[in-house]
Structure formats: structure tokens, C-alpha cells
Subunit: 421 residues, 2 copies
């Protein structure tokens, strides 16, 4: 094998369900020089990043940190740390990632109970309440936004029900965090995890996580400190967590004031994760959500303007991704390939029952921008027509531009009123 040259990726506009194109300043942060694991700058940066993510999550939880791995690593860390073998776990499944939560809970030897709705729908609170009353779970594990269907499960009333029934409430907010409302404390969540590669606008590889005090108590009750660094008086529970890497008690001791060595923190990913949160808070949490809503609405109007049918319950769609049914006459994968190869724009298909049936088009993070939306709609119009679909000329871009124009008018309205007054 000849040694290849330096990495030189092709230019891509990533408008799928994620990963998406990272914010340029996140990529720049990734290339900042490394410092040592216990350098005062490193520990200060870890603490600062925790504080930034508390604001992103809407929480005062001390136990707010990053798990070094992809969003799936965050999920597993939360579940294996909270679930004791034999615990009852309720997983309401409304898409592929609900199945994933059930699968991870099964591997943690939970007694897993699932309820399901048809893909494209979310659960009414009453259905979740009835299941909690029936199953009496130790843990309720519920995805907030399932990219496989684009649905956003309302969570705001479920925390109270969990608390009333003694269940811990966990959510996977990978696909939704940053682009949709999220209130860790107000919604009564005990554990939440995410990734950077969706609305947070970074690369996959770091998983923000937050735990309530109730959750920390469960984790602490299962503490086990490894032999090589254990000191007299350190706890060693028989009911230990069956993973070292995902033992959140040890990870908390590393991020906390004791700074007890666990893994070697992934410094470049920390820099990237910090910049994702910093950008979000600099723009403003509500402003970022509003931006996702605006460009998501423009994309939604645009795909409808192209004559495409939107999949699922649009009233419960995430702001940041839309699923459209692939027109019967159009070869879905060939059209996606044409989008990628001829226009450098990536859109996605889906999993399981939706594979080949829908495309998923995202507008998230850095790519929740008008030019990205309009380029995608213009290219999609061309590709649909080339593959034989009948498409209104300019129908996508015009519909999106109407959304932008209406938003501009609405934004200028209060100022005019003030002038008139």
C-alpha cells in the first residue's frame, strides 16, 4: 500500500438527518493545541464546559458532563448506570431509537416492557401514564426526537407521572437538543443524553449527559473503585455497574473536584463540545430554537411546494428534520445519489419500515440557514424532474421564500407599531 496523502474531504452540504456540516468555529476548536490531563487549563475547561451544558439542558444538575464516545455511548452510560439487573424498564417506542433503548436495557439485563405506536406518531400522555401504572417501572426510557420518523415526543407532563410512581425518567435527546425546547429540571427528567452531530452542530464523538440528584444517588449506591487506585474507605458495592467505561460514578469523580483518574479525557472532542454549547448560548438558546423552527418551516413548505407528501404527524414533527414520501415514479436511492454526486448535497433515507419509502431532509445546526434550504430545494427540483417526476417550476424555492418573507414581515411588525404609536 502506498501511503496516502492528508485527508481532503469533498465539499458537502449535509442536509440529511445528521451528522450535519459542523459550525466552522467548532472545526477550528478541534484543532486547538492539546494540554495535559490535569493542567489547570484543562480542568478549568472541563468545569466551564459543564456549566455551559447546564444551560443547554436547562438544569442546575451538578452531574452534567460529557461521555467520551458517540451519542450511543451516552445512552448506554445512562442506562447501565441506572438499571440494575432485573429492574423493570418501560420503553415507549415510536421509532428506531426506541428499539435501541430497549435493546440496550435488555443487554443491561433489565425486564424490558415496550409499548408502541405506529411510526409517524407520538404517544398521548394518557397512554404513557397507563403503561407506567401497569408496569410499575424502575426506569422510563423515552426518546425525545426520533430521527427515524422525525417525531418529537412531548415530555413535559411525563416527569411528574414518573415521580409519582417512583420511576426514574430518562430521555435520549440526541436528535432534538438545541433545535427544540428542552427543560431538564422543569420537566422532571432524571437523566438525559445527546450527541453533537445534530442541532448542536459538531462532529459525532462526544455525548453530553446530565443526571438529577435522584439519579446520582442510584449511581453512587453502586460505586466500585478500581483496585489500582482504590484507597482505604473507598466503597465497593456488590451490586456494581457492569461496565467500567460507562460507570457514571467514576466519570463523575473524574469531572468532579476529586479529579480521580478514569479515562483520559478526549481533549479535542472536549474543545469541540465546548464550542457547540458556547455558540448556542452566544446566539441564545431560544434564538437557536427559533432559527431551527424558521428554517424547518421553510423546508417543510418547500418540499410541499415541490408536490411532495410529508410523512407522519406534522404537528409533532421536530423542527430540524422533515420526512417526505418518495414519489412512486422516482428511484429513491438513485435520486439521493444524484443529489450527492452532482450537487454535493446529502439527504437521507430511513430505517426499517421507512427505508426506501421516505427521504429525510434536515435543517440543523450550522445548516439551519436560508442558503442551505434554498440550495437544497433548487437541487431537489432539478433531480426530481430528471427522474421523471412532475414538479411545479420553482415551487420549492418560492414556497420557502414565502415563509422567509412572512417571518421578515412579522419581525418588523412590532417596530412599525412602535413608530405608529
Amino acid at each position: 500500500m502506498t501511503v496516502p496523502g492528508q485527508i481532503d474531504p469533498p465539499p458537502r452540504l449535509l442536509m440529511g438527518p445528521g451528522p450535519i456540516s459542523a459550525y466552522p468555529s467548532v472545526l477550528r476548536a478541534m484543532s486547538a493545541p492539546l494540554v495535559g490531563q490535569y493542567d489547570p487549563f484543562m480542568t478549568a475547561t472541563m468545569s466551564e464546559t459543564q456549566e455551559l451544558y447546564r444551560q443547554v439542558w436547562g438544569t442546575r444538575n451538578d452531574a452534567t458532563l460529557l461521555v467520551d464516545g458517540t451519542s450511543r455511548a451516552g445512552i448506554e452510560a445512562a442506562l447501565v448506570s441506572l438499571i440494575r439487573p432485573g429492574d423493570r424498564v418501560l420503553v415507549p417506542v415510536f421509532g428506531r431509537f426506541g428499539h435501541l433503548l430497549a435493546e440496550i436495557a435488555e443487554r443491561a439485563l433489565a425486564e424490558v416492557h415496550t409499548i408502541e405506536v405506529e411510526w409517524g406518531q407520538v404517544f398521548p400522555v394518557s397512554v404513557v401514564r397507563a403503561a407506567i401504572e401497569r408496569v410499575k417501572p424502575h426506569v422510563v426510557a423515552l426518546v425525545q426526537g426520533d430521527t427515524s420518523t422525525t417525531m418529537l415526543q412531548p415530555l413535559d407532563e411525563i416527569g411528574e407521572i414518573c415521580r409519582a410512581h417512583g420511576a426514574l425518567f430518562y430521555t435520549d435527546a440526541t436528535a432534538s437538543l438545541g433545535g427544540n425546547p428542552f427543560e431538564m429540571d422543569a420537566w422532571g427528567l432524571d437523566a438525559a443524553t445527546a450527541g453533537l452531530q445534530k442541532c448542536l452542530g459538531g462532529p459525532s464523538g462526544s455525548a453530553p449527559l446530565s443526571l438529577s440528584e435522584r439519579a446520582v444517588e442510584v449511581v453512587r449506591s453502586r460505586a466500585r473503585i478500581e483496585a489500582g487506585i482504590r484507597e482505604d474507605g473507598d466503597p465497593d458495592a456488590a451490586d456494581f455497574i457492569r461496565s467500567n467505561y460507562f460507570d457514571l460514578g467514576m466519570i463523575l469523580d473524574y469531572w468532579g473536584p476529586r479529579r480521580l483518574n478514569h479515562h483520559t479525557e478526549a481533549t479535542s472532542m472536549l474543545y469541540g463540545a465546548r464550542e457547540c454549547a458556547r455558540l448556542l448560548l452566544e446566539e441564545g438558546r431560544d434564538a437557536v430554537i427559533a432559527r431551527h423552527r424558521l428554517h424547518g418551516d421553510a423546508m417543510l413548505a418547500g418540499v410541499r411546494g415541490l408536490g411532495l407528501t410529508v410523512f407522519g404527524d406534522v404537528a409533532h414533527k421536530m423542527t430540524n428534520v422533515v420526512a417526505v414520501e418518495i414519489p412512486a415514479a422516482v428511484p429513491g436511492d438513485a435520486a439521493r445519489t444524484a443529489m450527492l454526486e452532482r450537487f454535493g448535497i446529502e439527504i437521507g433515507t430511513s430505517f426499517g419500515p421507512l427505508h426506501g419509502r421516505v427521504w429525510r431532509i434536515g435543517t440543523m445546526g450550522y445548516n439551519a440557514r436560508a442558503d442551505a434550504v434554498l440550495q437544497t430545494l433548487a437541487a431537489l427540483e432539478q433531480v426530481l424532474r430528471r427522474f421523471g417526476a412532475s414538479v411545479p417550476v420553482g415551487g420549492g424555492v418560492d414556497a420557502a421564500e414565502d415563509v422567509y418573507a412572512a417571518a421578515t414581515r412579522a419581525a418588523s411588525q412590532p417596530a412599525e407599531d412602535a413608530t405608529a404609536g
Copy 2:
């Protein structure tokens, strides 16, 4: 909280036991634009990176890939995928990271047997052989280079013994790979894992891993495919791996031709890991090891030239790190702090019995360079003297320069002979 500015780390020369300063081109690679998860460029880059790491490991193992997490994630992935609950695992412990292997194996519910030597020593092959004969382990888990003591365990004769006794042979090469000889296939290893943050010269957060065909058979026999993407005919073993994230069978299916979705590959870490391997192979695997040996020898001579006593069995020291006893009169942590705060140079202390007793000084990856060695020795001389130690003037730098001069003479010798002939 006021939103802070962009990340701006202080300049540091990282001369501890790792993490160390990354190669500049690795940091540049980290900031390359992202592409989609199934973009042809992405899958080609994954395959290319596998081939690069086959050469780094010295293997033809098809099952050569990256685990998305720190080096500890690689260790856990290998052990939980290979160890069935109740399996006998033999861990010869010669430092802190041997204890870590035992700890991770215990969490995987192995029947763990350890043997130990005093810190600063390695095991004679005969001792390992006797333990294998006695324990009859399913898996032998043995660190190659334990940074806690700087020792390098010879592995070349142990694979054959393992094979003769039906044991799988795993090693953790995190601290050693790239700076010391490593021959996966020739040494009969079944599993090996590493990290980027030592001799490979990258950031923590990606764990290169390789599995022999025997190891893959064990992993495959425990296959379980998650419900959300399972198809008819897919296997579902009762004896499944108790982790989804670290299920190497699923990770292999994601890196292999089937490209079955598992996690979302950490693209920036992939770019960084690729560049680490690319740089190593461009310079040449043997040349990189020779460079680590040269600068490690210079540092070894230098610390002795400063009158410091080297810890442990120097004949079995890794090339890339040296442990020195902290002089009785010198406050070890205050001196390290002075090195960091006044000179911007980081050196390390150690764990457990060696904490506060030794400093560990590394010369690895990008920092296996003469200027880094000489700056460190010059600064250490100043700091030792400031804290009251009696130090030969210029003794460290002079001794290191002697090593470099001898190496230059040796390198020019063949050319002179040729001229004479």
C-alpha cells in the same frame, strides 16, 4: 454566566507519560469538513484507515478498526466481547494498567486470576507460562507497556504458549504502540487495543483495535442484532455480549462491507486517527521506533546527567518514557508545577505506590525530538537547583548531546566506509 470566548489553550510542551502534544498535521486533520456517514468518501476513508492500522499493528487481520472512545473504551470492547461470564481470565499485573484489565474483566463477570511482580519489573516468560498451565485461562490479558512504571513486557513468546493451551491472547498497547516494536501476527496475538495520545501523536478519543480470526469467531458466536434493524435470519445468541456499544460483532458489521448502522462514526476522530497512522507509515514504522529509541536514550542519559536515579529495570523500559526518583530534598509536586507554570513544560508523577515518589518524563510522538528533550532537561536543571538540589551544571543537556553526537557518528559511519573502500 457570561458566555466565554473561543478556546485558546496556553502553549504547552507535553513531556509527561501522555497525553502528549499532537502532531500539527493531526490537529489540522481534525478540523477537516465533515461528510455523511455513508458518503462514499467516508466509507472509503474508514476502509483506508483500517488498512493503515493493519500496517501499524503488523497484521493481516481483516478485523482491524477504531472503537469510538478513549483507549479504555478499546480495552473494554475487547474484553467484554471476548469474555463470557464465568470465563477464567489470567492477568499478569506489573503496574496500574494491569489492575485496570483485571477490574474490567471482573465487571464482565470473569473469574479473574492475577499474578504480580514488583512495580518496576516485568514477567519472565517462564512465570507467565507456569500461570497459564495452572489457571488454564480462556483469555490472557497482559499490558505491553505500563506507563505507571514505564516497563515494557516482552510479548513475543507468549502467544505460542497461549495457543498451545487454548487461551486467547489480548494486549493493551496504548502506551507502547508506535514507539516500541509490535508484531500482532508474528507474536500470535488475538486481540490488541491502543489509543492515539501516546506514541501515535494524536488526541485521546479513538481506540485502534485488531482481532485475529480466532477472536472474531468468539465474537461472532455471541452475535445479537438490535430489534430496530434486525432482519429475518439474523443471529440472536442467548449468550450475547452485555454491551451494545462495545459489541465488536456489531462494530465489525458497521466497518465491514455490510455497513450495518451501529453508532455514528466520530468523523473528526477518524480523520485524526488516520493522520496518526499515515504519518507513522510515511516516516516508516522502524524509523519511528528508532526515533523514539534515540530520543528516549537521550532523555535517559540526560536525567542521569542531572544526577537523578532512574526507577525500575532500565533494560525493560519503554523507549518513550522514563521514571526518575524525586530527590529527597525536592518537593515533587511543587517542582512539577514550576516546570509547567514557568517553562510551559509538563512532566508527570505516577499512581499508587509511586505517587510523589517518581516523576515520569515522556519523549513520544511529535515530542520525540531533540529540541523537546533539550528544553526539558535545561528547564529541569534550573528547577531542581531552585528547589535546593545539587545538580551538575549543564549535566543533563551535555549527556543528551553526547547521545545525539554518538548517533550522528554511527549514522555517518557506513558512508565513510564506503568512501574508504
